[in-house]
């Protein structure tokens, strides 16, 4: 079984400042890792994922996340946030059997302040 911990429920940050949203996971088997984003009044969208290979993965809108196996972490970062990044961010894992249910963290609400 897997579990996901998102250490911060809310993160306020000023526009153009850097941000890191933390995610730690627990699993007895190898996992795939995901970040999903939920913009206000919208459904969940995949932001980025780690399956294998390079431990640093990037999204098209400037976010990146790094898989750290020794620390069982998959923190999400962006060097300079925009107002439009205001959303709820969910970290999730699934085991490597593939196409299995995701196990989600409780989410981190990122609020970007002008």
């Amino acid at each position: 079984a897997q579990s996901v911990t998102q250490l911060d429920s809310q993160v306020p940050v000023f526009e153009e400042a850097p941000v890191e949203l933390r995610c730690n996971y627990s699993s007895s088997v190898s996992v795939y890792l995901f970040w999903y984003v939920q913009y206000p009044n919208q459904g969940l969208q995949l932001l980025l994922k780690y399956l294998s290979g390079s431990t640093l993965v990037e999204s098209i809108n400037g976010f990146e996340a790094e898989f750290n196996k020794s620390q069982t972490s998959f923190h999400l970062r962006k060097p300079s946030v925009h107002i439009s990044d205001t959303a709820e961010y969910f970290c999730a894992v699934s085991d490597k059997r593939g196409n299995t249910p995701l196990v989600f963290g409780k989410g981190t609400r990122l609020s970007v302040i002008a």
Partner: protein, 115 residues
């Protein structure tokens, strides 16, 4: 269709009534998932359908919850004798089954309020 759709978008019901929630997955997606998101919580897995295999019901919280799927199309989640703790957003997701891991695409959810 263009994406996963769910209906109704909002449902208010009285305690003890039955409700039925509908999910239309992306055409061609063989896997379909139901999740629940209670206020201030992450998403909880409820049930998973994969093609014609027996569904994985391990996440259903009680026998009041059931779900059906006909082939690779529409799925319905039924909650019988609703309780106030069933109030949540119910999310459906679908994925194809081509590669080793396929992205789950989520619908907008059904917001259920049990009075």
């Amino acid at each position: 269709g263009a994406g996963v759709s769910q209906s109704p978008s909002n449902k208010v019901t009285e305690k003890g009534k039955d409700v039925e929630l509908r999910c239309d997955p992306i055409s061609g997606h063989t896997a379909l998932y139901w999740y629940r998101q209670r206020l201030g919580q992450g998403l909880e897995f409820l049930i998973y359908f994969q093609g014609n295999s027996a569904p994985d019901k391990s996440g259903l919280p009680s026998d009041r919850f059931s779900a059906e799927r006909t082939g690779e199309s529409v799925s319905t989640l039924t909650i019988q004798r609703t309780q106030q703790e069933d109030s949540a957003v119910y999310l459906c997701a679908s994925s194809s089954y081509i590669g080793p891991i396929e992205t789950q695409y989520f619908g907008p959810g059904t917001r259920l309020l049990v009075l």
